[in-house]
């Protein structure tokens, strides 16, 4: 089983366009209108209390780590249980959840450090550490588990070498006794 990770920086504008399914050129005015709508009561100089009409949107760019858990042979680990541990508290789960149909899961780390991700399903699973650097912007390394990160050619060569070891053992013990 292995985990494939990728990071994405989600911006609110991007989210807005995604959810409205329209090109950014059309979404931008709408988005600005949405942002400024909170100012309208202030502009109207209405002294009566604005009941639940005043609204504002403040946004920040948030980093999201998305990973995909697959069994060997690229079969997704769907509905596998995910437990995420923050760098400061490796004992208590920081977030739990399940992967989707494609074995994907994403989370938004809020501090730099080594984030431990445990994916488990029916006794199979893995623990992977995802390092987040101090800027909190990019993942410094692609997390790798101890499993199946070799190319098929490498695996074949390793299998052949090991099998040759077994064959050598067999040949050694089938040798004919030689006279001294």
């Amino acid at each position: 089983m292995r985990i494939v990770t990728r990071t994405e920086i989600f911006s609110p504008l991007r989210l807005a366009t995604d959810s409205l399914i329209m090109p950014p050129s059309r979404a931008l005015p709408l988005f600005l209108l949405f942002l400024t709508s909170g100012l309208l009561p202030t502009l109207a100089r209405d002294n009566s209390p604005a009941l639940a009409h005043s609204s504002s949107v403040d946004f920040r760019i948030k980093q999201t780590v998305e990973f995909r858990a697959v069994y060997e042979g690229d079969r997704p680990m769907d509905n596998a249980q995910v437990t995420i541990y923050s760098p400061t508290d490796p004992a208590a789960p920081w977030q739990t959840g399940t992967t989707d149909e494609q074995g994907r899961f994403s989370f938004s780390p809020d501090q730099p450090g080594n984030w431990d991700v445990k994916v488990r399903q029916a006794g199979h699973g893995t623990l992977v550490t995802i390092p987040i650097d101090t800027e909190g912007e990019v993942v410094t390394a692609v997390a790798e588990t101890g499993e199946a990160t070799y190319s098929p050619l490498q695996k074949t060569m390793m299998a052949i070498a090991t099998i040759w070891g077994f064959i050598g053992t067999a040949l050694f013990f089938t040798r004919k006794p030689t006279d001294p």
């Binding site: 079969r75 596998a80 249980q81 399903q121 006794g123 499993e147 199946a148 077994f166 064959i167 067999a170």
Partner: protein
């Protein structure tokens, strides 16, 4: 059904190693008692190679894919050599491809190796009875199927009893039982494969079917 590193509590890992040590000692003692302990080693080495490489070959069985274990066949052909052979095969699977893990090697050897000795005992017992060809074929099928299913039961029992407290126990239990159903189907496939392999070997090279030197599989 290879349990990876880090998913079982340490006392179970250590217990697995202790049990594996005991069974390996017992198996080696049985091997040492035969007239020529090294006579069967070439066969054991080649079957270990087969066991090692089988875990890389995925057979698609919709909606999932399986890889054959054939621990029953190992037991029937190798007798007491099967346990050390499986232990060595699992070691190389863990080191080379990360199937299972080094800390869980003992547990995995018990899960797959103990049922192979069970299959050996069952087929030895079955072949000793002259109850006809169908009986003989049934015990061979049973040897292959029961070995895999017993391994699956050990695996399921172990994973069910050690569900980590941070997991959703119901969800994990459902996933484990779904896996057990898959192993049920796999045990039928392995039983059928075992029958075919034993019958083939019996026809072309019957001397292979002497698990322990000086102790023929077929007691006629």
């Amino acid at each position: 059904m290879h349990i990876p590193d880090g998913l079982l509590p340490p006392q179970i890992m250590i217990g697995g190693y202790a049990l594996t040590g005991g069974i390996t000692w017992f198996s080696l003692r049985q091997i040492h008692r035969t007239s020529d302990p090294t006579a069967q080693l070439p066969k054991a080495a080649l079957l270990t190679a087969g066991f090692f490489v089988l875990s890389l070959i995925h057979i698609p069985v919709p909606p999932t894919s399986i890889h054959l274990v054939l621990n029953g066949l190992m037991g029937i052909i190798l007798g007491y050599y099967a346990f050390p052979a499986i232990l060595i095969g699992l070691f190389f699977q863990a080191v080379m491809f990360g199937h299972g893990g080094l800390s869980s090697l003992g547990v995995n050897a018990v899960i797959m190796g103990l049922p192979s000795l069970l299959a050996y005992g069952l087929v030895q017992w079955g072949e000793g009875r002259a109850w006809g060809m169908w009986w003989q074929q049934t015990t061979r099928f049973g040897g292959g199927a029961i070995a895999l299913f017993a391994a699956a039961l050990l695996y399921v029992g172990l994973t069910l009893s050690t569900i980590a407290p941070d997991l959703n126990a119901d969800l994990e239990r459902a996933a484990i039982f779904a896996a057990l159903a898959g192993y049920g189907i796999q045990s039928m496939i392995e039983g059928a494969f075992t029958v075919m392999a034993i019958n083939f070997l019996e026809r072309v090279k019957p001397e292979i079917l002497q698990p322990m030197a000086g102790e023929p599989l077929r007691q006629e």
